[in-house]
């Protein structure tokens, strides 16, 4: 009885290819992905009184504080846009990235229990985190829209930009950046946990060099020697671009846009490769 080697459905072996992604398999498990996303959304506000309202509270309070500190005390100008709305837009975008990053960066450890029992493509877990994060992002976006109209009726001249058609791409870039960084960190922390300590405060520091509470132009005006730090930070590009298309404030350049897009995709691919190399054996060390 002879059988050609390629007859095997799959092979379990220690060999590691650089890119060993089985997209068909991920597609086969799409139902699982959908169910995980559903589960995340449904279970968050089980047994809470305010339910999804909690999603409103954090960005609102943060925006109020930012407005008080950066605009009222530090006098950072925000152009024609009311400072509160300016901050709220930045925080909404930042939150989505931040959540994607911090949650995916603990993938291997938080799901070690289920990973240790059954096999399914591990990448499902970071993917579902990012997708269910979209839901929260949507809710936070809706309050941004509410305040947008509020200020419009207050007589502010607000107008979205034609760049608004880039909105899905901006969301995608945020997701890719969060995923890429998160998956890389998650892979590195299976054996040595040092990085987990870093993630918490690194993200909060990262926010300040990502142009969240101030416009990009302020940096090049006041501290030109450090402007590169913000300029080449893809996140600053995203936040600035996000405000540009919604509020028509700040600067936008196509070169910056494509730079960010390329950066996001590369980081995502790197994350995917690293994640893939780790997933086979992480359960022995996590």
């Amino acid at each position: 009885m002879k059988q050609p080697e390629n007859d095997w459905l799959y092979e379990i072996s220690p060999k590691r290819k650089v890119i060993d992604l089985n997209f068909k398999e991920i597609w086969d498990y799409r139902d699982l992905l959908i169910l995980f996303v559903k589960r995340d959304i449904v279970t968050v506000y089980k047994q809470t009184i305010l339910g999804p309202l909690w999603f409103f509270i954090q960005p609102l309070f943060t925006s109020v504080i930012f407005t008080l500190v950066f605009n009222n005390i530090a006098n950072i100008p925000t152009g024609n846009v009311p400072p509160f709305l300016f901050n709220l837009a930045g925080i909404t975008a930042w939150n989505y990235f931040n959540q994607s990053l911090t949650q995916t960066s603990s993938t291997f450890r938080s799901y070690a229990g289920i990973f240790g029992k059954v096999y399914f493509p591990r990448v499902i877990m970071p993917l579902k985190t990012v997708i269910s994060g979209l839901f929260k992002f949507g809710i936070q976006l809706s309050i941004l829209v509410i305040f947008y109209f509020y200020f419009l009726f207050q007589g502010y001249e607000l107008q979205p930009n034609t760049n608004l058609f880039l909105f899905p791409i901006y969301v995608l870039m945020m997701a890719l950046l969060g995923l890429g960084a998160g998956m890389t960190i998650s892979s590195f922390t299976t054996k040595y946990r040092d990085l987990t300590v870093l993630v918490g405060f690194a993200t909060s520091l990262l926010m300040y060099i990502s142009a969240v509470p101030y416009p990009l132009s302020e940096v090049s005006g006041k501290i030109p020697e450090l402007a590169w730090l913000v300029k080449y930070n893809p996140l600053a590009q995203i936040i600035e671009g996000f405000r540009y298309m919604l509020l028509d404030t700040g600067v936008f350049s196509w070169s910056g846009f494509f730079y960010t897009l390329a950066f996001s995709i590369s980081l995502f691919l790197i994350g995917l490769v690293v994640f893939n190399r780790t997933e086979k054996n992480f359960i022995d060390t996590v």
């Binding site: 799959y10 379990i12 449904v42 029992k117 059954v118 054996k191 086979k280 022995d284």
Partner: protein
């Protein structure tokens, strides 16, 4: 029949002790070897996975060079005591982790029932969790939907199916999990003693389901268990693992015999040195062992099997004609007396005419004990006078659940010590 699964030289190495700075050093060394294109230096080291010995090395081989093939529709039993590498093998098969060397090739989807109820979320209802759990185990939504009613009926949780699982009793959760798992339809099913859950009625249902999966539907099954009786009734072939090595592969009966006789290499205790004993000493216990009908010394017996108790006696015989009445008793580990038998009860007197050593055998058919450990004590009378009564046990044996009723049905009451069977009649 074609080969559906093939394992070639699979080994798995684990590091002992904590992951710490030591591992960083090893990792750097490993990396340094790999960039120079050399083989991983740590693959050459590593001790045998013997849990009773003290570890001398940092690395251990949980599995070493395992080879086997499984044919389509075959039920393969994997047996071995704790720590033999069974669970590691299952983890590799279910792709939870990958082998250090070697490869496993398969032609079908493998689903494993290592743990049931994986992916259950306490806040979700039973129905939602069926979908969740099914998807985790590799079913599509459509497949689950088609079987939903069947699963719910099997679990016996119809009433609570729209209640969050956190309000379930633990038994209900387990039943629901098993119900989902039992309705999986992979080409290869890996089962790890999940049968030991639920109440008697549910276990019966579960074993029935397992039987119909493997026998009726011709599913390929890899079955891992300590329970020799269920291995015997379910499997065609068996592999015996010991300390991470495959020590026997073949027909299931032979594999089980190999396992039972091999589990411990038994050296009968020398009883002649025991001081704490009473009696005249005309006939004294020298040693005691239990042998299988095939002549092998064993310590593990299946309930319902036939075993032979072998007593070796030292005789000091002044008047050349000694009537030896040998008695033994069987006790539970907490010293509860279960059975006593003297040869005189059956009007058997052993006439010993010579000095020296003699052997008395007692064959016990259909051993009526339930699984557990048992202790054997003994006493000898010569011509109605106590000759020897050691105050320590002669030996012990371990009973493994077996086919006592000769029906393939193991019985489910794990608490009773003594098994009985009867002849049943219905009179209308």
């Amino acid at each position: 029949m074609s080969v559906i699964l093939k394992a070639e030289n699979i080994s798995k190495q684990y590091r002992l002790g904590n992951v710490g700075t030591g591992t960083l050093g090893d990792d750097l060394k490993r990396w340094w070897y790999s960039i120079r294109g050399k083989e991983d230096p740590f693959l050459k080291v590593g001790g045998v996975n013997d849990r009773s010995a003290k570890a001398t090395e940092d690395y251990i081989w949980a599995l070493r060079d395992i080879n086997f093939e499984v044919k389509q529709g075959e039920v393969l039993g994997i047996i071995g005591k704790n720590g033999a590498g069974k669970s590691t093998l299952l983890k590799l098969l279910s792709r939870v982790t990958s082998p250090t060397t070697g490869s496993i090739k398969t032609k079908g989807r493998i689903a494993s029932l290592l743990e049931i109820g994986t992916g259950f979320h306490p806040e979700l209802t039973g129905r939602e969790n069926i979908f969740m759990n099914g998807a985790v185990l590799g079913m599509t939504r459509a497949e689950i939907k088609a079987k939903l009613d069947e699963i719910i009926a099997f679990s016996g949780c119809e009433m609570y199916i729209d209640t969050p699982v956190k309000r379930y009793s633990s038994g209900m959760t387990v039943r629901l999990g098993f119900a989902v798992a039992a309705h999986l339809e992979p080409e290869i099913l890996v089962i790890d003693e999940v049968l030991a859950v639920g109440d008697a009625e549910f276990q019966k249902k579960a074993i029935g389901k397992m039987n119909s999966l493997s026998k009726g539907e011709g599913r390929t099954v890899l079955f891992v268990s300590h329970n020799m009786a269920s291995v015997k009734s379910l499997c065609d072939r068996g592999i015996v693992l010991e300390n991470g090595l495959s020590v026997y592969e073949g027909g299931v009966e032979k594999a089980i015999n190999f396992y039972l006789s091999n589990e411990k290499r038994i050296i009968p205790k020398d009883l002649s040195t025991v001081e704490n004993r009473s009696g005249t000493g005309l006939a004294k216990f020298k040693s005691f062992e239990i042998i299988h009908t095939n002549g092998q010394t064993i310590e593990n017996v299946l309930s319902g099997d036939t075993v032979i108790f072998v007593f070796t006696l030292d005789i000091i015989n002044p008047n050349k004609n000694l009537n030896v009445d040998l008695g033994f008793s069987i006790h539970s580990p907490d010293d509860e007396l279960i059975s006593v038998l003297y040869s005189s009860y059956q009007n058997e007197m052993m006439q010993v005419e010579e000095d020296g050593r003699c052997i008395i055998k007692c064959k016990i058919a259909d051993l009526p004990y339930n699984e557990g450990e048992y202790i054997v004590k003994g006493r000898i009378e010569c011509d109605k006078v106590e000759s020897d009564w050691p105050k320590v046990p002669l030996g012990k044996f371990n009973v493994v659940k077996g086919d006592f009723y000769k029906t393939g049905n193991l019985g489910f009451n794990g608490k009773s010590k003594l098994l009985i069977k009867g002849e049943w009649d219905l009179i209308n």
